[in-house]
Subunit: 151 residues, 4 copies
């Protein structure tokens, strides 16, 4: 979908509540995506979303946060550009649309909705310690997840 000269956009989907191991994995995914020149797309809030954004920012990357609420102030501090949608969970579909591929981390329902919508749209979906749904790829670690997402 991207023009040749454009960066890929990759979404990281994951819960606001996550274990330290999940957060560490998310930060590494964000950093690796940034080093590959990708724009990171998330739901803009805390937990996995914030960790991925922090990793990307610290590696010099750009992050797009597509928020459920109408208040941009809810974005985590590592969001470069925030979109306050006021759409609630319907913004999950916008996160998927805005991205070329999705990396799902952890096991929350919102994450599952993003996996399903991305598979429905024929986009590449990579999982890291998350739901296992036919059609998605499972990665053993952040490096493998990023490699699969950008393959």
């Amino acid at each position: 979908m991207a023009r040749p000269s454009e960066p890929p956009y990759v979404a990281v989907a994951g819960a606001g509540d996550a274990s330290p191991a999940m957060l560490e994995a998310a930060a590494e995914v964000g950093a690796l995506l940034a080093r590959r020149g990708a724009v990171l797309v998330t739901g803009g809030l805390g937990g996995v979303m914030e960790a991925a954004c922090r990793g990307a920012c610290e590696a010099g990357g750009t992050t797009l946060g597509i928020l459920p609420g109408s208040d941009r102030g809810a974005a985590n501090p590592w969001v470069t550009v925030a979109v306050a949608t006021g759409l609630g969970q319907l913004r999950n579909g916008l996160v998927v649309r805005a991205a070329d591929a999705v990396i799902a981390i952890g096991g929350e329902y919102g994450t599952l909705s993003e996996i399903a919508l991305a598979l429905k749209a024929g986009k590449r979906v990579v999982g890291l310690g998350t739901w296992e749904i036919r059609g998605m790829r499972c990665a053993e670690n952040p490096a493998a997840a990023v490699a699969l997402a950008l393959a």
Copy 2:
């Protein structure tokens, strides 16, 4: 959510392509919902959606079809009131929002997205030959599915 004097709204989520057994089950679910006075909400297209609408209509019920496209003409002929949204798969989230409970039939990705969004929103989700996701109830047959959805 419904006012006491109002009918419940129940969504039937399912694929446009479905087996004869799935279609028969969907039609029976639609008929049973109509007999219980519920308004049937679907994505308005064919397959499971059409079978459920047909069952509901033949039992004297009302059906709401929330279409992905902008053309109301795409609605199946058993849709009482059609909403042409032009939202594509984001309309799945509207199907869930419009309903108090969701009955999922069959195993497509769009259906999975509706299951996930409904569980995320704290709504009752009943499955009939579909994905098995923690938090949803599994029914053995249409009568059990409708009973669980309206419990």
Copy 3:
């Protein structure tokens, strides 16, 4: 857009706060649309929306209410089928999409957004005591408005 055998869908756009004369006009528009077999689409709330729905219902018609909030209970009592969207004012765009033509009554900003979106989409827009925007038709009374909308 409608299949030949299908009813037209006509939106009535107008404010929740309206003068008695506006409400009377809205009720008459609703009744005339119902007598012509049209499905009435509104934003589902009070004022002009409620008056139009009441007029349509009392004339035996069907009304579709596309609500801004997530609670179906906010619909006025004359809404036949309610869609709780949770989209806030973005639901104005869905009201326009769901309809073949728009009759605007009174002068509120939400009404103006519906006029503009309908004109942008190339739909017929009729005004009754409302904004005068190039491209829309102005009607002198409810009968003329309905005749223009269904022409």
Copy 4:
């Protein structure tokens, strides 16, 4: 709405087809917004949107393009971060929500819908050679428009 340490987000609404004078004004608005540290929000396409983005980029600013289609490739080349929404004209409402204030340039229906939605949401709306709707401020030139938008 913005946190004190955050930049303001200002939308520039305008048509894809515009006169050279309009385009020049839009580019100057974009440049002035960038120099004031604002993030520029547009619908991401050509004409006024592209001119404003070009002005902002050349002045070192950041631009957010909220596209109607599903293909990010439709963004003009001066969009820093693109959101491919697939929502069609409903994305106009997202442009408004994402911004703290709106500067409208030129006289198209889509622009009018953004003016109306922003006024409905209680946001500041400044016009430059566009519709004159009660509640919005009219500016004589780009500098005045930016000053009013950021006041």
